[in-house]
């Protein structure tokens, strides 16, 4: 009984050693498909997966390009519709403050002032002012305008100190002023030092 059992075990081990390499060899080196249907399904699935990946990639790029294009168009359009008018420009010799009253009469919302340039009568630069110098205030309430921008139809004024820039010039001197908006448009005006 024990002898027959040992023989059976030896046969099983032999069978395993012979069969497994044979199956592996068949799986690895046999070029024939397991089945035509299965191989077609695998290839189709691969192609579909690749197609979805490429589609998603192109869609993402298209979406980004679309957004950038629309943003650029919108910025350009808003800049084109910006209009600023000078209501009154006054200079105080005692405080050296220049007050520029502005009106946004265009169709662009949220028009901010980025920089102000001043030239003299000979078009020599007198000064340029930007940043924290330029705080828009409400003409009626004298309070700073929220966001430091002028909405459509709104009025505001900016008072900034020009220091000694206008001192060398006598009374009745003529100056040109240019207001540059944050969208890059510029509007020219003039004033006389009284």
């Amino acid at each position: 009984m024990a002898k027959s059992c040992r023989r059976k075990n030896i046969l099983t081990v032999l069978n395993f050693r012979i069969l497994v390499p044979k199956m592996l060899r068949k799986l690895l080196f046999d070029k024939r498909a397991v089945s035509v249907a299965v191989s077609t399904m695998i290839i189709t699935a691969g192609v579909i997966a690749m197609g979805i990946a490429v589609l998603y990639w192109t869609y993402s790029w298209g979406n980004m390009a679309n957004k950038q294009y629309v943003d650029n168009m919108q910025t350009g359009s808003n800049a084109m519709e910006e209009r600023i008018s000078f209501e009154c420009i006054s200079y105080s010799s005692s405080s050296k403050n220049l007050t520029v009253n502005l009106l946004n009469w265009g169709k662009a919302k949220n028009t901010g002032i980025a920089r102000i340039y001043i030239w003299d009568n000979n078009h020599e630069p007198v000064g340029s002012y930007s940043g924290s110098d330029l705080v828009l205030k409400d003409i009626t309430t004298n309070e700073p305008i929220q966001g430091n921008v002028l909405d459509i139809g709104n009025e505001g004024y900016i008072t900034f100190n020009v220091g000694l820039a206008l001192d060398p010039y006598g009374n009745n001197s003529y100056f040109s002023i240019r207001v540059v908006t944050q969208r890059g448009r510029s509007f020219d005006g003039s004033f006389v030092k009284l």
């Binding site: 168009m73 359009s77 209009r83 008018s85 209501e87 009154c88 169709k107 003409i139 009025e155």
Partner: protein, 134 residues
């Protein structure tokens, strides 16, 4: 495949076309803004300024729209000979050919012989006049 390519091309074409139409609209509106502004014509008449109590100056005037389009006056400014400025908000809409008589009280420091004032239209035009203080 051809249909897919045509579909994609059509979508891009329509998108670009829409953007071009929008841009054209903005350009037209922008040009119209300038054209309207240049068409505005407002004139002052019957301007009388009298010295009121204290630093108050009472200015009576008639403003006329002599242009072809309606005009809205949004603010009036006054300045004295001492370079002092003051302004008041207005809300006057004048149809073409219409007139409006107004009386404004300016608070300007000191005594003066002349007053300069100007109105601002909603399209950013300034129309000025000056008169002697009676």
């Amino acid at each position: 495949m051809v249909l897919v390519v045509m579909y994609l091309y059509y979508n891009v074409f329509i998108f670009v076309q829409n953007q071009n139409v929008s841009f054209q609209d903005v350009t037209s509106q922008s040009q119209q803004l300038d054209a309207d502004r240049n068409s505005e014509h407002v004139s002052f008449s019957d301007v009388v300024c009298t010295h009121g109590i204290g630093n108050n100056y009472i200015v009576a005037f008639t403003v006329s729209n002599t242009g072809p389009i309606p005009v809205q006056l949004i603010r009036i400014w006054g300045a004295d000979s001492e370079n002092e400025y003051t302004s008041q908000k207005l809300s006057i809409v004048l149809q073409p050919g219409a007139k409006s008589s107004e009386t404004i009280v300016f608070n300007l420091g000191g005594s003066m012989s002349d007053i300069v004032m100007w109105v601002v239209t909603a399209r950013g035009n300034l129309v000025s006049t000056s008169t002697k203080v009676a």
